[in-house]
């Protein structure tokens, strides 16, 4: 039995490049959504402060939500594209990494770390909600454990991929256009998407 499991594991290991990206992308999609949901709130608050004659009182709400939807879809697509281009040999030393240095190669890991962590927390919440009826008290520690494993195996591996496997850029400013949106989402994920702010003084 163990031999078969081992064999299956090895077979899956060989094929992992063809499916692991789905988990890596999914983890950040969950984090992106958590951040975009907060972006919607902040944007609505800001729009209501603007002394401007909106076409209708519902306009700011609709505008804020649709802007957040657009940002979420755009950053989600950017994340998928970033996974798609990071298929090079990992940079083995600093000189190789420096040769690949660009705006994108700096922004991508900065984005991936907090957003994947936020996504892992969403996974933890989903698991806790799904299992609490059966596992009762054990649901919370179990969901935390699974979230940590998701964070390390999917989020962590994608982070390493972003740092080490970026392609050499045609120019150093490559990826500049997406930076404001990507960093905005990353900032919101770091600020609102991690269950740590409540513990801070």
């Amino acid at each position: 039995m163990l031999r078969w499991i081992n064999k299956l594991d090895r077979l899956l290991s060989f094929s992992s490049p063809s499916w692991i990206w789905l988990g890596q992308w999914g983890t950040v999609l969950l984090g992106i959504h958590l951040a975009a949901d907060r972006l919607d709130d902040h944007l609505l608050e800001a729009l209501l402060q603007v002394p401007f004659g909106w076409p209708s009182p519902e306009f700011p709400l609709a505008a804020a939500t649709w802007f957040a939807v657009a940002v979420e879809l755009m950053v989600g697509a950017w994340a998928l594209w970033t996974i798609g281009i990071t298929r090079n040999e990992p940079a083995k030393n600093f000189a190789v990494w420096r040769a690949r240095l660009s705006v994108r190669s700096v922004v991508a890991p900065l984005f991936w770390a907090p957003v994947a962590a936020a996504g892992s927390w969403v996974v933890a919440m989903s698991i806790e909600d799904a299992t609490s009826q059966v596992l009762l008290e054990a649901a919370q520690p179990l969901s935390g454990l699974v979230a940590a494993v998701v964070g390390l195996r999917l989020g962590g591996s994608a982070f390493v991929r972003m740092v080490r496997q970026m392609p050499e850029p045609k120019n150093r400013l490559e990826g500049l256009w997406a930076t404001p949106f990507v960093l905005l989402v990353a900032g919101l994920a770091a600020f609102h998407g991690l269950p740590i702010r409540g513990m801070l003084p």
Binding site: R10, D41, V123, M125, I127, P195
Partner: protein, 340 residues
């Protein structure tokens, strides 16, 4: 496509190499792929149920399979887009509320809850049926038992139970929310099914209670045109009248129907000078054809506070006040809630 090609190449390599030596495997392969598959499945399920991209992917898959599918409402995945009271237009108001026992839910929440809970969500109705309470007022008696000093908390606990609520509050607190115990703050941390049930009870009851507390903007005013379809007095075509017209000589004081925040003070060709007030819980009232406004945008007003003077500005055939009530963006007849 390239990732799939990578996978095929990897499989081919596996075929050529045969059974790899253990040392080589440890160095080159990603160990624990079985675990990874399990994690990927969990993550994909979470994305499908929680993120708009998942909704779009589900829609695309159904279409590819040739099944009928409706495009998901992307804004429904967002808290502010969804945290609006459900449509109350079909709710028939309960005329008389039972007497309030000591410590019971106060009016107008009592009447609102009694009205809303008559069509309680299925899980709640199932739970209520197991209680040994009189059938008629089962929900309101259960609510009375849960009520201490906060109607919102009692309603939420009744709708989804203490455990789910406590969990969501703890999550909101951990994320640094300033008021984690408020429903609007921790709503996003509830499972989607619970959000639906809680919205049907909490948001709807609070909205209805707010509506029941409305007061007429002009005391003892005569209604000259009711809410609903009518022949428009200037356009002479059948039009939907989204509010009520109250007869008022120019300069009559107009008061706020409820406490709230002034969100718009404006003027246009159709409404003339107008004021819009947000009352919370998805309620908004507006006052049109004014001669003078007495409030500023962002100003807090109390119930009955002077906000404007009536007039005959905009598309109007004579001095009157056009008063509208919107709940969750939908125009409703304010007189339906019997404002005092």
């Amino acid at each position: 496509m390239s990732v799939i090609r990578d996978g095929i190449l990897a499989l081919e390599r596996y075929g050529q190499q045969g059974r790899p030596k253990r040392r080589k495997y440890a160095g080159r392969l990603r160990r624990g792929a079985l675990l990874d598959v399990f994690l990927v499945v969990i993550v994909v399920l979470a994305v499908v149920s929680r993120a708009p991209v998942g909704g779009l992917a589900g829609y695309a898959i159904e279409r590819i399979r040739g099944h009928e599918a409706t495009l998901p409402t992307l804004t429904a995945y967002f808290d502010s887009g969804a945290a609006r009271p459900p449509d109350l237009s079909a709710v028939a108001l309960v005329a008389e509320a039972p007497s309030i026992p000591d410590g019971g839910v106060p009016e107008p929440y009592r009447t609102a809850a009694r009205t809303v809970l008559r069509s309680a969500p299925k899980p709640l109705a199932k739970r209520l049926n197991t209680l040994n309470l009189p059938e008629d007022d089962r929900a309101i008696v259960a609510l009375d038992q849960l009520y201490t000093d906060d109607v919102e908390v009692a309603l939420e606990v009744l709708a989804i139970g203490t455990d789910l609520r406590n969990r969501a509050v703890a999550r909101a607190a951990a994320a640094g929310d300033v008021t984690p115990s408020r429903y609007t703050s921790h709503r996003r941390y509830l499972p989607l099914s619970a959000v639906k049930d809680a919205d049907e009870v909490v948001t709807a009851t609070l909205a209805l209670a707010s509506a029941l507390e409305l007061q007429m903007p002009i005391q003892n005013a005569r209604v000259t045109s009711k809410f609903g379809h009518r022949i428009h007095p200037t356009l002479k075509t059948k039009k939907f009248h989204n509010g009520v017209d109250l007869a008022a000589p120019i300069g009559t004081p107009i008061s706020s129907a409820q406490k709230g925040t002034v969100s718009v003070v404006g003027e246009d060709k159709r409404s003339g000078k107008y004021v819009v007030i947000e009352h919370g819980n998805g309620l908004r009232t507006s006052y049109c054809h004014l001669s003078e406004t007495k409030v500023l945008r962002g100003q807090q007003v109390s119930r009955g506070e002077l906000v404007a003077l009536s007039g005959n500005t905009g598309r109007s055939t004579g001095p009157h006040l056009h008063w509208t009530l919107k709940i969750a963006g939908k125009a409703m007849d304010p007189l339906r809630f019997k404002p005092q």
